[in-house]
């Protein structure tokens, strides 16, 4: 392990802000790229299903 204690790990030798900001952005990007299609998919499937049930035509 490159760090002796947890607080050293968080501090990153003084570069903590930069490292954690970057990794935070990374997680955010991954989360959004996966989450948004899932939510959009659910919403569009619900809308399409309702339209089919109502009048057989999903347009």
């Amino acid at each position: 392990m490159a760090f002796a204690t947890f607080s050293e790990f968080l501090n990153m030798g003084g570069h903590g802000l930069y490292v954690w900001l970057s990794y935070g952005l990374g997680f955010l990007t991954i989360a959004l790229c996966l989450y948004v299609p899932i939510i959009q998919g659910r919403a569009s499937r619900k809308t399409l299903r309702r339209r089919i049930m109502r009048d057989g035509d999903p347009s």
Binding site: M1, A2, F3, F9, M12, G13, G14, H15, G16, Y18, V19, L21, S22, Y23, L25, G26, T29, I30, L32, C33, L34, P37, I38, Q40, G41, S44, R45, L48, R49, I52, M53, D57, P58, S59
Partner: protein
């Protein structure tokens, strides 16, 4: 056209239904393997890899920045090639792939730029620097944004797909020219300082987690593209019987 030398699976790909079923099977694998590799890569990079002699611990940003940069460029190529296939062979699925890739590619380009800029602060002292790699990545982002803007400006789906295919191809041809001229411009205005990533000089303890992260991000963002693609397929094929059956099950 040319069906003699193209394999059968190429034309099978053209079926949106086949594509939907096939990608559905891929999702659990991509999720598990991608998630695992991502966890391994990040833990390795943050905890176990050595810090750089000159840059200290901010060097660990490389495990995000380089995969993002590589992916942003590969995805543009994928988008352009998918667009070309859609244009030449008139395959709807290829157009749908291109449309699904665009926003993901742009998001990754932004991530690459952001991590590059953040990395630059402790290294060079400012939040932005006009070096060749960052400037090229910025231009790549502009190319992505252009494709997205054109797609949303055209109402007819088929026309939009064809126009953006032409645009991405024009962009693809230009990318090497842009890279070359930006690199040249950079040497003119800045003496050759060390670059953010000294890949050849990296010892194994440093580039192995990087390799893991590159593979992990390919899989994870590949999953993101698959998810978008499946949504696109359902919406575009909503009038077909298999979609109706699927939705009303």
């Amino acid at each position: 056209m040319a069906s003699k030398w193209l394999p059968r699976w190429f034309f099978q790909l053209a079926s949106p239904r086949w594509c939907y079923d096939f990608t559905g099977k891929l999702i659990p694998w991509f999720a598990v393997v991608g998630g695992l590799l991502l966890a391994v890569g990040i833990v390795w990079g943050l905890l176990f890899a050595p810090s750089d002699y000159q840059q200290g611990n901010s060097f660990r940003i490389i495990y995000l920045h380089v995969p993002a940069a590589i992916l942003a460029q590969s995805l543009y190529m994928l988008m352009a090639i998918a667009g070309a296939i859609g244009l030449i062979w008139k395959m709807k699925v290829a157009d749908m792939v291109a449309k699904s890739v665009a926003p993901i590619g742009a998001a990754i380009a932004i991530l690459a730029l952001a991590t590059g800029a953040i990395w630059g602060k402790p290294t060079w002292g400012s939040w932005w620097v006009w070096d060749a790699r960052l400037t090229s990545m910025l231009v790549l982002l502009f190319l992505y944004l252009g494709v997205i803007a054109l797609n949303s400006a055209i109402e007819n789906e088929k026309t939009a797909a064809q126009s953006t295919s032409v645009l991405s191809l024009v962009g693809l041809v230009n990318i090497p020219i842009i890279k070359y001229s930006v690199e040249w411009w950079n040497t003119l205005h800045q003496p050759a300082t060390f670059t953010l990533t000294e890949k050849p000089a990296m010892p194994a303890e440093m580039w192995m987690p990087l390799l893991v992260m590159v593979i992990a991000t390919y899989i994870v963002f590949g999953l993101a593209i698959i998810l978008r693609l499946r949504n696109e397929i359902l919406v575009r094929e909503r009038r077909s019987s298999w979609v109706k059956a699927l939705l009303t099950r």
